[in-house]
Amino acid sequence: MEVQEIILEKPERIEFNKGVWNTSINVRDFVLQNIVSYYGDDTFLVGISKKTEKLWEACKKQTEIERKNGGVHSVDTETISGISNFEAGYIDKENEVIVGLQTDTLLKRAMKPFGGYKVVQKALQEQGLKPSEDINTLFTKYVKTHNDGVFSAYNAEIKKFRSLGFLTGLPDNYARGRIIGDYRRIALYGIDQLIAVKKYDLAHIEGPMTDAVIRLREEVAEQIKALKDMIVMGNHYNLELNRPAETAQEAVQWTYMAYLAAVKEQDGAAMSLGNVSTFLDIYIERDLKSGFITEEEAQEFIDQFVMKLRMVRHLRMAAYDDIFAGDPTWVTEAIGGMLNDGRTKVTKTAYRFLHTLYNLGPSPEPNITVLWSPKLPENFRKFCSKVAIDTSSIQFENDDLMRTLRGSDDYGIACCVSYQEIGKQIQFFGARTNLAKTLLLAINGGKCEITGTQMVDGIEADNSEYLDFDKVMANYKIAMKQVAKVYNDAMNIIHYMHDKYYYEKAQMALIDTNPDINIAYGIAGLSILADSLSAIKYAKVKPIRNEAGLTVDFKIEGEFPKYGNDDDSVDIFAHNGVEDFNNELKKLKVYKDATPTMSVLTITSNVVYGKKTGATPDGRALGVPFAPGANPMHGRDTNGAIASLNSVAKIDYKDSQDGISNTFSIVPKSLGATEEERIDNLAATLTGYFEHGAQHLNVNVFDRETLIDAMEHPENHPQLTIRVSGYAVNFIRLTKEQQMEVISRSFHQSM
C-alpha cells in the first residue's frame, strides 16, 4: 500500500452572513444576521486561565495599595489625558491577551481638566499634589472649561436653588457622561471606514448656516479628529485599528480600544459600555467553530477584557463621593434581553461575562445589567438568579417594558437605569431635584425651610394649626412649577456649555451624526413626598414653627398609610408625584430640542439630600437620609417584600422613561431553604415584579450581620459587593456614614 502524504489545509474562517450592515453602518443588522442564541446551561463554562490568574493577582496587589492609600493609587500631574496622549501601558505584557490602560501605569489616574480645572486642582491637592507649572499656566490664563462656561451663564436664581439644595449633583463641575458610544463599530468596520462615513456626513451638512448647522459641522469635524487619534492610540499598542477586526481576540481588543479611547478622553460620571456581549459572541462562535480557539481562550478574552474594565479610574475630588459613593465608573454592560423578532439575545458570551464574577470574584464593575424577560431561556434565568444570590453584583431591568415602549432591541443602559439605543441616541444627564424640599416650600410660604430665603413667589404664608391637604397640594403645584423652570434653565446652560467646552468627540464619533437626544431630568425624595401627603390627608399634622414662621418639626396625630405596603391610598401620591413633575418638565423648551425624560434615581445622593432637608410632615427628622431612588422609606415597608415591590411597580414608566430605581435587600433564608429554592424564588420574584410593569431591581442577598462584620473587619471582605442604587459598590470603600445608611435599609425577612 502506498503511503499518502496528508497535507493539512489551513482552516478558513467562515464568512459572516451578509445584510444591510455591509452597505451602511448598522451593527444591529450584523447581530441580527449572525447571532447564535444559546438555550443551554452553564456547564460549558471554564475556570480562570493561568495568564489571567497572574494578571488578576497583580491587579489585586495594586488595588490593595490603592485602598491603603486612601483610595488613590497615583496620579500623573504632567499630562492632560486624551485619546493618544499616553504611551502604551501594561500590567504584565506577556500574560495580557487584551491590552490597553488609560495611562501608562495600572491604576494611575489622569487629569481631564476641560470639565473644570478647579476640580482637578482640588482633587490633586487632596493627594498633596498639584498640576505641573505648564498646565497651571494654561488653565488659569488661557483655557476656558465647561465649569467656567456654566458659571458665567448661571443666573442668581439658579445659583440660589443649587446652593440651598433644591438642585443637587448637577454636572456643572464634572463631566456629564451617560453617552454610550457604539464601541462595536471599530471592530466591525475599522476606523478608516468610519472616517469615510463621517467625512461623507460632513460634506452633506449644508447651509443656511444657522447656529445648529454650524455647531453640527464643527462637532463632526471634531469626531473625525478623534477617530484619527484612535488610530494613533492603537499604534502605541501595535494594533491596526484602522481595519476591521478579523479574529475573536481582535474583536474583543478593538471593542475595548474604542471604549478605552472614551475613558481616556472623558471622565463622565457614568461611562457605560453598551451591549457588546452578543456582538462579540458572533466572532467567538466563529473562531470556536473553525477550531481557531478553545473555550479556555474564549473565556480568557472575556475575563481579561472585564478585568481591564474593572481597572478604569477617574480623578475625583473627595466631595464627589457624597453624591457618587465608592468611586464608581458605571461601565454598564446590558446582557440578555430579546430581539423584536422573538429570538433571544442570550448567547454563550452572556454566560461568559457573568462567569467573570466567579473567575475573578464579585465586583461592582462592570455594572452588569440583565435585561430580563419571562421569555429568556429558562436556563439563563436560573443562572442569573444564581449569580445574583452568590455575588449581589448584578441588577435586573425589564426588557419587555423598555423594548416595546422605547422601540429598539439594540439598546444599552446609560449609568443605572436609562435606556439608550446604541449608536442612534444619546442623553443629556441632569442629576435631580429635591421634591421633599419642594413640598416644604408649599408649607413655608415659598421660603427655604432652613434659611428662610424666598424661593418661590405666590405662596401665602400658612398659619393654621393643622395642615390642610387641599391647600398644601395647591401650593405644592405652584412650587413644583417654579422648581421645574429653574431646573430646566440650569440644564440648558449646562449642556450648551458641555458641548462647547468638553464635547465627547470620541464617543460621538461612534454614534450616528445628529442622533436623537433625551434630556434626563431626575427627582429625589419621592417616598418622603408620598408619605408626607398621606400623613396630611389621613392623619392630622401639626407644624411646629420657629419665630421666623419656618417649620422645624411636625406633630402627627393618628395613623396614616405608608408607601411600600401595596396600599393604593398612599401609593397614588408616589404615582402622581412622578407624573405631575414630569408633565411640568415636558412643557419647557430644551437645548438642541432634546426630548424630556425623567428618572427616579438618587445614586447615593439620598444621604446628602437628606442632610439638606428639614423635618418633613411624614415624621422624618431634619437631616435624616432619604430612601434611595424610588424605594419606600427604610422600615416603613412592613408588609413583606412583595407588597414593597408592588408599591414601587405602580410608578408608571411612561412618566419616568429615564428609569425607576429600586434597591432590594433580602436575607437568603427568606428566599428559600435550599439553593434550588432560592434560585427559583428569586427568578419568580423578578418575573412577578416586572409583570407588574416595574422597570428596575437591584438585588442584594445577604444578612445584615455580614455587612456589620465587613465594617469591623474590612480585610476579611476585600471583594464584598453590594448594590446601592442602580450600581454596585465595593462595600469596604464606602465611608462609615454611607455604610451605616446601607445597613439601616430594609432587609426583607419575608416575602
Binding site: D566, I642, A643, L645, N646, A673, T674, D680, N681, A683, A684, T685, T687, G688, Y689, E691, H692, M751
Partner: protein, 224 residues
C-alpha cells in the same frame, strides 16, 4: 404567600408558633380580601409557588377554607395545606379532594407513646388515616418531620417511618426540619413551660445520617 390560621388542638413541645395554638385570638379576615391579596402576589408565584395555609392547625377551619381555596382555584392559584392531619370530617374531605393541590402533612412520631409525649394528645393513627385518604385520592402530598436527636432522630424510628410510607405513590418528597430552639422566647412570653429545654440541636452528621436513611425510602429528601 403563607397564611397562619389561629388555633390548634395539639400542643407540640417544640412548636415555634405557640402563639397560634389558642383557638381564641388572631385577626378575622374576609375570604374575598385574602383572595384579593393573593391576586396581587400571583405574578410572583412562578411555577412552584402559591398560597399556603398553615397554623395553628388550618383544618380546624376547613368550612371556611373550602370557599377560600375554591376561589383561589378559580383564579388559577396553587393551594397548599400545611397540616398535622388531626381532622378528617366532611368539610376537610371536600377541601382535600376538590381544592387542595398539595398537602404538607406533619408526621410527629412513629410510636403512640412518642406522639403523646410531643403533642400532649392521644391517637397518632388519626394522622395516618389522613395520609391514607390522601393516597387514595391520588393527589400530591409532602411529608414533614421534625428531627430531634434521640426523640425523633433515631435510625430505628426513621426506618419505621420509611417502611410505613414507602409504597405511597402520592408522596413527592419528605422535608426534614432540624429541631432548633428559636421558639423558646415565645413560650416564655405566653407564660408556658418549655418542656424540651434539655433537647439539643442536631449535629451535621446526624442530619446527614437521617437524610441518608430516608433516601432509601423516598424519591426526594430535603433538609430545611
Amino acid at each position: 404567600m403563607v397564611i397562619f390560621l389561629q388555633g390548634c388542638k395539639l400542643k407540640c413541645q417544640y412548636c415555634h408558633n405557640p402563639d397560634t395554638i389558642d383557638t381564641h385570638g388572631g385577626e378575622e379576615h374576609q375570604v374575598e380580601d385574602l383572595v384579593q391579596r393573593a391576586l396581587k402576589m400571583k405574578s410572583y408565584f412562578g411555577e412552584k409557588g402559591g398560597v399556603t395555609v398553615s397554623g395553628g392547625e388550618p383544618v380546624l377551619q376547613a368550612h371556611n377554607l373550602v370557599p377560600f381555596f375554591k376561589r383561589l382555584k378559580e383564579e388559577g392559584i396553587h393551594t397548599n395545606l400545611d397540616t398535622n392531619g388531626r381532622v378528617l370530617n366532611h368539610p376537610v374531605v371536600e377541601l382535600l379532594d376538590n381544592y387542595t393541590d398539595l398537602v404538607m402533612l406533619d408526621i410527629k412520631h412513629m410510636t403512640e407513646e412518642g406522639f403523646q409525649k410531643i403533642t400532649g394528645v392521644k391517637n397518632k393513627e388519626t394522622t395516618f388515616n389522613f395520609a391514607k385518604h390522601r393516597e387514595k385520592s391520588g393527589k400530591k402530598m409532602w411529608l414533614r418531620y421534625v428531627l430531634i436527636p434521640d426523640i425523633t432522630n433515631t435510625p430505628e424510628l426513621l426506618h419505621q417511618l420509611g417502611n410505613y410510607f414507602k409504597d405511597y405513590k402520592t408522596i413527592e418528597q419528605i422535608e426534614l426540619q432540624p429541631y432548633h430552639k428559636l421558639g423558646i422566647h415565645k413560650w416564655d412570653a405566653l407564660g408556658w413551660e418549655y418542656k424540651l429545654k434539655d433537647a439539643r440541636e442536631n449535629t451535621k452528621e446526624e442530619l446527614q445520617q437521617a437524610a441518608d436513611i430516608l433516601s432509601t425510602y423516598f424519591k426526594k429528601v430535603k433538609i430545611n
